[in-house]
């Protein structure tokens, strides 16, 4: 790589004057195509988000999707709607414990796998990828069937029937998010500087102290990212929640889906816009924490969350 890199500028200088004008015009056209295409794709990606936010400020009084002037009234209506506030509360009751559990389980497993044998590692790998790759709808329905069957069994054995509710949703969310945290932390572990751990051991630190002072700080960005992503994925999840929740544990995505199936109202958009703002704020906060942490550790502030998630 180094030799061609040195030779390249010289070669470029020699070639440039010999390029024919016809070829240049072609290059300009190609360049223009790529630029225009990229701009269009990014517009395509952000258009739906922009539209939802825009229509949340729709002042129309009816339930139609026609534009009726700029207004913030629907935000007030949404926040005063008891169904919305109850759903929000349910979403938080589910997302927060889920994030703590998934982060703990995923981090522990990543550390454990480092110490485990080949067979254990391989079976964990298969399970982790399965939980990420099996379509969500399959996981959701089979979990529903498992819960329903075992609840009936418990009923017939002990005469008490467990019900679908917050706990069933949390349990189901933790599965996917544990895998997510596990993958993030493992990626970080494998890229970690082992010499520091060895040095620490040479300096008579106990394994626990080495973990606390060397390993954990290095893993922290991945753990923070894992926590925030687990929270967001649970907060935004629709498919799994809709099949394993009970009558009292309906979340915001379920509320939105119910509205969408009837008719999208400005209130739907207001709730959606607040959800979008909330998740984006969470991720920005995560980004800020990571940048701050990297700067304090004297490292170059890299792309943060994005870099961790797309590391490989």
């Amino acid at each position: 790589m180094t030799a061609p890199a040195v030779a390249r500028p010289a070669a470029g200088e020699v070639r440039r004057p010999t390029a024919r004008p016809g070829v240049d015009r072609w290059s300009v056209a190609v360049e223009g195509f790529f630029r225009a295409h990229a701009a269009l794709v990014y517009a395509f990606l952000y258009l739906p988000i922009a539209v939802v936010v825009l229509f949340a400020f729709n002042g129309t009084t009816g339930s139609s999707t026609q534009w009726g002037g700029f207004s913030t009234r629907w935000f007030g209506i949404a926040l005063g709607d008891e169904v919305v506030t109850t759903s929000l509360l349910n979403s938080l009751i589910i997302a927060i414990p889920n994030a703590f559990m998934a982060t703990a389980f995923g981090t522990m497993a990543a550390l454990g796998l480092q110490r485990a044998g080949r067979k254990v590692r391989l079976s964990f790998d298969v399970l982790t990828y399965m939980s990420v790759i099996v379509p969500e709808i399959v996981i959701a329905l089979s979990t529903l069937v498992l819960f329903a069957t075992s609840f009936n069994l418990i009923d017939s054995l002990f005469g008490v029937k467990p019900a679908f509710g917050h706990l069933t949703v949390i349990a189901a969310h933790v599965l996917f998010n544990t895998s997510l945290v596990l993958l993030l932390v493992r990626a970080r572990l494998s890229g970690m500087d082992r010499t520091l751990v060895d040095a620490s051991a040479d300096l008579f630190a106990t394994p626990w102290r080495t973990f606390r002072q060397i390993t954990f700080p290095q893993l922290l960005p991945a753990i923070v990212a894992g926590f925030l992503l687990s929270f967001t994925f649970s907060f935004d999840d629709f498919v799994i929640t809709s099949f394993v929740s009970g009558p009292g544990s309906s979340t915001l995505p379920l509320f939105i889906f119910g509205q969408v199936k009837r008719a999208v109202t400005p209130e739907t958009n207001a709730v959606a816009a607040m959800m979008l703002a909330f998740t984006l704020l969470m991720l920005l906060a995560g980004q800020a924490i990571l940048t701050w942490q990297a700067r304090r550790a004297g490292r170059r502030a890299d792309a943060g969350m994005a870099a961790i998630v797309t590391e490989r």
Partner: protein, 298 residues
């Protein structure tokens, strides 16, 4: 704890036992979760797929192949899913390849920003971004409304396969772009110059240099979008009004409306087998002897 140097004697049995115990404890919660909420549900679905429907819905123990026969006879949702997933993957590829190429070769210092901008929508609610297309394509404020007021002709996009396809490409595009971007970004740029110096045109260079290098990323991306598209449920439900009847919809009908758990289970097993075959093919492709760079599934 006395073993501080590299050439230390083997650790005593007590310490080894303690170390093994710690490893097990660390793996216990995640292992338990995988066992109870992944292995058990999938196992129960496999068992149920050989059973019969109880009289008032659910599952009655039996060992019959009727459900599989039925799933093959009524394979329409499966075929529709295959078609939509195939077209959706193709759409992601057509939109994603030029973008990934632009990001990898022409974006310069803005690369990081462009990657971030690609991830951000992906982190926000899939449900919200999907229903937004109701507003964009719909008859009131959307495309159909604009077309009506400009040309006077009424068009129907929502509730058709086209709306579902737009939703699929929109929803899964980033999963196609990331692996493509990663492989193209690692590409040795001097190869392009060498090709040019040897008199190859743009098309020849693209076909003989860029495409073979991008191939692993292309395959990874295609699998990453194809598999979830096969099991997609929200998009056909919202943008297709449930009329484009995919595997996801058929599963929900079987399990919840018909309450025919064995029939739904057989369909689910079909989907899982299809997924395993795809991934096995992928692993074979990645490891096919040549020095192809391994691209992780995530």
């Amino acid at each position: 704890m006395t073993a501080l140097t590299g050439d230390a004697p083997p650790r005593p049995a007590g310490e080894r036992l303690r170390s093994g115990l710690l490893t097990s404890l660390l793996l216990l919660p995640a292992g338990l979760w995988y066992l109870v909420l992944l292995v058990a549900p999938l196992a129960i679905v496999v068992v149920f797929s050989f059973g019969t429907r109880a009289r008032n819905g659910g599952y009655a123990p039996a060992f019959v192949l009727d459900n599989y026969v039925r799933a093959i006879q009524k394979s329409e949702p499966f075929i529709t899913s295959l078609q939509m997933a195939f077209l959706g993957t193709l759409g992601c590829l057509l939109v994603g390849l030029p973008l990934a190429y632009f990001m990898a070769t022409r974006a310069g210092r803005r690369k990081g920003l462009l990657v971030l901008l690609l991830v951000v929508p992906f982190w926000t609610s899939f449900l919200i971004r999907t229903y937004a297309w109701l507003l964009i394509l719909g008859p009131d404020t959307g495309l159909a409304g604009i077309v009506l007021s400009v040309t006077g002709t009424e068009i129907q996009i929502l509730g058709t396969g086209i709306a579902v396809l737009i939703g699929l490409v929109y929803g899964y595009l980033p999963l196609m772009v990331f692996p493509l971007y990663v492989t193209l970004e690692r590409m040795d740029r001097t190869l392009l110059e060498a090709s040019k110096d040897l008199g190859a045109g743009r098309w020849a260079t693209f076909r003989q240099i860029t495409l073979p290098i991008a191939l692993p990323g292309l395959v990874t991306g295609s699998i990453l979008v194809f598999i979830p598209m096969m099991g997609e449920y929200v998009i056909p439900q919202i943008l297709g009004y449930g009329r484009t009847y995919l595997m996801g919809n058929a599963l929900v009908t079987d399990f919840l409306e018909a309450r025919n758990w064995p029939s739904g289970s057989a369909r689910a097993v079909f989907l899982i087998i299809m997924m395993i075959v795809t991934i096995a093919g992928y692993i074979w492709f990645v490891n096919r002897g040549r020095r192809t760079r391994e691209v992780s599934v995530l």
